[in-house]
């Protein structure tokens, strides 16, 4: 269901499918709960390939964000500036409960910056 789960520079990044809706939201949440590392690490969910998300999908994102907040971690969404999802995210208030990044590299860099205060914020790691 999750199209890819990888670790980029120590940050867990999962790609979400084209449709995130009532048909797969519960399963996605389960998969993410199993595969996402514990502890106080941020999670990056990449919605670059996601075309539609419904209220069940949005509910799932809020719940994941809440769980991460309890662990003092941050849920980071990757939504390209050209995506219609950006408008939907603002209507639904996603932008207040989680961070939204334009690129995956930006999200990973921000996650690393919060993990390690010595890491420069906003820049992808060298190499």
């Amino acid at each position: 269901m999750i199209s890819r789960l990888l670790e980029v520079d120590g940050v867990a990044v999962a790609g979400l499918p084209a449709d995130v809706d009532a048909a797969n939201a519960a399963r996605l949440r389960e998969e993410l709960a199993y595969t996402v590392p514990h502890g106080s690490r941020d999670l990056v969910l990449d919605l670059a390939d996601t075309r539609y998300i419904d209220s069940a999908g949005i509910e799932m994102l809020f719940r994941i964000a809440q769980r991460l907040t309890e662990r003092r971690a941050v849920l980071r969404l990757v939504i390209p500036p050209s995506s219609h999802l950006l408008r939907l995210a603002s209507i639904a208030g996603l932008d207040r409960a989680m961070r939204i990044h334009e690129t995956r590299a930006g999200a990973v860099a921000a996650a690393r910056a919060e993990d390690d205060p010595t890491f420069p914020a906003g820049e992808p790691p060298a190499g």
Binding site: I58, E59, H84
Partner: protein
Amino acid sequence: MGPWRPYDAVETIPFSPGSVLLLYTDGLVERRGEAIDRGFERLRAAASGAWDEQGATFADRVYAQLVRDTALEDDVALLAVESLRLGDRLELSLEASPHVLASLRRTVARWLTTMEVPDEARFDVVVALSEAAGNAVEHAYGAQDAAFSVTCERTADEVRVTVRDEGRWLPHSRESARRGRGLMMMRELMDEVDLRREESGTTVSMVKRVARPG
């Protein structure tokens, strides 16, 4: 049926609305002691004859044409896939299952494109419609063979979408937070949202004002 093997030659041809694709097994065209080309020719003639006929399905009409003169010697499977020409009104009847939502969104998005609805408005209508459909699916929770219907209409200056189901909105559903957000999204994305709850079911009717270009 042998194992699947890739084809040596692949050609791409457009499958435009109003077209029909015929898929068939060899029994439809092969006759003992006859070159296969004659079989193809017979099928072509039958398909073009069936094209102008009325009644039955296209596959049935092709089949009737083919067996009119000669009986078939083998069992036959014949499938016709039609790409519907979309008009100003789209009517769909769907199984009340969350698994229909993705294909509903794609079908309606394609219809909206044909109706010259610009990209952003198309997204809004598709998301709002998907929310209403999601509610209809939820109403039918646990019911067997439940269905709901979707109607989309295009006029000169607006798009109207209606979702009807035969269920009732439960006042304190365990999903009420999600549903509240869904309703809020519908109201934000559309210009009018009308929600009618009756004994016989629930109807959500929504309007997006979007003029036809030109």
